[in-house]
Assembly symmetry: C2
Homo-oligomer: 212 residues x 2
DNA sequence: TTTAAAATGTTGCAATTGCAACAAATACTT
DNA sequence: AAGTATTTGTTGCAATTGCAACATTTTAAA
């Protein structure tokens, strides 16, 4: 994951955050970050910790939109529908920086190279985020639970360059991430184990198929 | 949709494209744009026309990843998996600009305000794209065909600020976009019409429900 | 360490969906 | 304008899935 302050010296980082009037916030594990931290358009940068963006349906379905870690960004301009319906939940103690998006974009500081570098870094981060979203879409467009699981496992395995990897969250969360029923997923995982496609020990998953 | 050259004069636009060694290409309707236009990391800008990014599954399923129009961007850095498996298809006669992504990012032209402006514009476009991806994910995470359709219709209606709108593509494409079986979708649309949720005349759709 | 809470595993059953196989209607091409 | 290709509509049926309800295991908190 790209660091939003890549190629920016400590000193310039401070200057930048001052110019942008960035605010720092600390949250305990399992707390809800209200999206109305400030009124306007904002970008949040995760300095440390883990966040989940959660959507709770009118159908009572809970969907994990994304899971974010250090260096990731989030914010109003990155969500549709003014993000009214999203919950942002800390999974660990988390520190974030909040920056006003409009102020950031409209700042007339072209001569400051650290400002330009920062914008470039954000572009790179958001571009990576698109790739993640596309991966997510790849998974969600698979028609069966089995194919969703296999696609998810393949991508996870590829991203970690290892046929063995650890789930970054619970199986309950995985079901929410894949937008499928947890018990149906559990059933399908059993079949996949029985048929020798995968091996599971706790959150440790090993792929036993070559490619599918 | 944001124009990638917003706030850049014609003159500076030319300079910029020269510096970036941008190449212009024209394609006829229904032609495949090979993703190996050039070898490296590239960004494509749609000057005019319409493109679809298509993925064909090993299961034989055809999925529309996105539909792009004038001002939109696409490119290797925006796809996962080195975009080997994606087809880029013109739906109309289309003109694009190709820019080398690494060259763009690594250019040392901080003093050129049009360059910085261009990067900012790209950030804005990619940020909007994230919103679109999130909307797509919202739709795909709905568990029933009915709810996928209703969510799609809601978003389409909201985006056009009108309860009547036109499908931007065929119903066959819509099924591919929603990742559902076309005939099953057709059946569900019939029920939605019968139950008075919607009205359909050709590609013209009117929502008759207040909110759902 | 005990207790409570959350996560995981399991299963029957009803609802939903994909698939296949057509007919009918539209849209393109020459 | 005729002929071909594509899109749309329809339906039975089998497969998949969600849901509910519960037992068991694991994790977290007091």
């Amino acid at each position: 994951m790209t660091n939003p302050f890549k190629n920016i010296s400590e000193k310039n980082q401070e200057k930048l955050l001052k110019i942008l009037e960035a605010h720092r916030f600390n949250f305990r594990k399992n707390s809800l970050i209200l999206t109305n931290i400030n009124q306007g358009n904002f970008i949040g940068i995760i300095v440390d910790g883990i966040l989940q963006i959660i959507k709770n349906d009118y159908n009572g379905n809970r969907i994990i939109i994304e899971e974010l870690e250090e260096g990731d960004i989030f914010g109003t301009s990155l969500f549709p529908l003014q993000n009214v319906e999203y919950d942002i939940l800390t999974k660990e103690d988390t520190t974030i920086l909040i920056i006003d998006y409009d102020q950031l974009i409209n700042l007339q500081q072209d001569n400051k190279e650290y400002y330009n570098q920062f914008i470039k870094n954000l572009l790179e981060i958001v571009t990576n985020k698109i790739q993640e979203k596309n991966e997510r879409i790849e998974i969600l467009t698979k028609k069966t639970i089995r194919n969703k699981l296999l696609e998810y496992f393949n991508i996870a395995s590829k991203n970690r360059s290892n046929r063995t990897f650890y789930l970054p969250f619970t199986f309950t969360d995985l079901a929410d991430f894949l937008a499928i029923d947890r018990s149906a997923m559990s059933r399908e995982l059993k079949y996949l184990k029985e048929e020798g496609f995968i091996e599971i020990k706790g959150k440790r998953i090993t792929l036993l198929f070559d490619k599918y």
